[in-house]
Symmetry: C2
Subunit: 347 residues, 2 copies
């Protein structure tokens, strides 16, 4: 089969690789229908996150089950399924508690020796614990596919940020970051009943989506000016809940600074600034809490799926470009230069 | 009257100062019955926290109301009251939400221009918002006084750490710090239903109190060895809830490292190591949350008072020495060289 392979910074290639097969009795093989490129893939693309030359890449996909091992009971060939961005065994304490990202048997698509999501097919370890069934008729529903695909990571991650920031009905929420995750954070906050949602972002295409997702205010400033603007919008107090969806030192500093005393920052941006942006002195005096991390998408997909299917949320709007497999290198370039927000790959 | 005054590092004096009087219609004057010395007073004593020469000190006291302003309705002369370590107006949004430490009219005893708790009397701003009534007969109950006094800070602060760390019935809890706050954190965790409480500490007098307060295990190691020991005690997983009651870089690092994936660190140690101990990369991958800060003691005193009065908790056991006002400088020395755990001042 053909799959996306990373050979080094800015070097993404489509290559012939071995067809995946069931290796363990708990495996499934999924023929990919849609995959996509994540903002976090760009850390590898830019050489910030190290990868071995020839490693697979991509961790978001949905598709049709092609084969299953002898111990797989939850899915069967022909089923339409979505995968969260981490696989997990489904039976350990962490999986039962809904923190599948800490499963001792879990792993990330595209790690050394495993398939990546941006390929024609994927071997899925622990298929029963990992995959979530989707309605079979949705596999050809071009209007629905993008939103179902968004469940694999960005919508689940935005939701995780909202949960970690303790978004409650009536809350004032601020979202730092206008990437796909930040926008899904806006949507998640709206879904959880936030009364006011302040989106921080300066790209008009993106802030337009933020408004469609429920943002009531947009702040285009950055740094100190952004902090001032949010404080002004909130009577000097800041937001009850702040979603941090960038992962830099400045974004973390901004997030903590715009939280209301007693509020919480939910962070899902992969930290690339160390702890320098975490202003513990400010957090202490104002009782600002910090939570979040890698999102247990597997725990959230079932409840979010309900609202995708009933039309209450449409996270697929974050996709603004679709390519075929050969178009993936172009898709990386487009996301890297921010001419595309998020690129979908249709097989 | 006579009160404790700090003139510089290691320079604590008892001096004649002006008698406090009602200045604002919302003021009360309280004649102090008991006060105490806090571990956080030692930061000033050691010169780590700056103070102006001649500033008052002490922020924990209980006593008898001597006079009230014309707008005070909640307390009257003769009432027995305890003060939290921060005063607050009682009517703003933050006070109503139970975050009195963020009251815009609030302040700390002993700040410039205000009385400190370690004196014969104290002018109390916003008496209705600040003071909590105690049973009048308790004012002469020598067995009860220490536990009532502990409500002003250490017991409320230990409780705040437990709440911020999300201690729940059945939880495994670890407490970093064997000072009075850490010990009260053990007691708070026990009160909230923790099943297992691991106290980190090496002073046998203190760990004996920890055990009396409900600690099921004691870890005497520090640093990496302490992390190893807690992991071994918890099947490799760490504690659901970790209370950080020291405030150094190492203690924060230890606290985060011994939290279970998906768990929370509740920190109340005044941060003196900056953010360096906050390992955001570890927090992200394991979904460890961080909450806490300066404790809104005023919010907690009523519920904790119930359990002091019914005998369910006896936080006063953290006091291991009692001095009169003239003995206060000796009390500081004893706490500084750790020959005393916490010193009570009886007037």
């Amino acid at each position: 089969m053909r799959a996306t392979v990373i050979h080094g910074p800015n070097d993404i290639r489509i290559e012939e690789v071995p067809d995946p097969v069931v290796q363990q009795p708990t495996d499934a093989v999924v023929r990919v229908v849609n995959a996509c490129i994540c903002g976090s893939d760009l850390w590898a693309y830019r050489g910030v996150a190290a990868r071995e030359a020839g490693q697979r890449i991509g961790h978001e996909f949905l598709g049709i089950v092609e084969a299953v091992g002898s111990e797989v009971n939850g899915v069967k060939p022909g089923d339409f399924v979505v995968a969260p961005f981490v696989w997990s065994d489904g039976v350990c304490d962490y999986c039962r508690e809904g923190l599948q990202t800490s499963c001792p048997h879990g792993g990330f698509w595209g790690s050394v020796g495993s398939d990546g999501g941006q390929g024609e097919a994927v071997r899925v370890p622990f298929a029963d614990g990992t995959l979530v069934q989707l309605p079979k008729e949705a596999a050809t529903d071009q209007a629905l596919l993008p939103s179902l695909l968004a469940l694999s990571d960005v919508m689940a991650t935005g939701h995780h940020a909202a949960v970690a920031a303790k978004v409650r009905p009536g809350a004032t929420v601020a979202v730092v970051g206008d990437g796909a995750v930040g926008l899904c954070g806006v949507l998640a906050a709206q879904r959880l009943g936030a009364e006011r949602i302040i989106a921080l972002g300066r790209h008009e295409v993106r802030t337009a989506i933020a408004r469609r997702f429920g943002a009531t205010d947009v702040v285009a400033e950055r740094g100190e000016a952004a902090i001032e603007a949010v404080r002004e919008l909130t009577g000097g107090h800041g937001a009850h809940a702040v979603l941090e969806a960038v992962g830099t030192e400045e974004s973390m500093r901004t997030a903590i600074s715009i939280a209301r005393d007693g509020g919480a920052v939910g962070y899902v941006g992969v930290p690339h600034g160390g702890s320098a942006g975490v202003d513990i002195g400010q957090m202490f005096g104002r009782n600002v809490a910090l939570g979040g991390g890698v999102a247990p998408a597997r725990a959230y997909i079932p409840e979010l799926l309900v609202d995708v299917l009933n039309g209450r949320i449409e996270p697929g709007l974050v996709f603004d470009r679709t390519v075929d497999l050969d178009g993936v290198p172009d898709g990386y370039r487009a996301m890297d230069d921010r001419s595309a927000l998020k690129v979908r790959i249709a097989f």
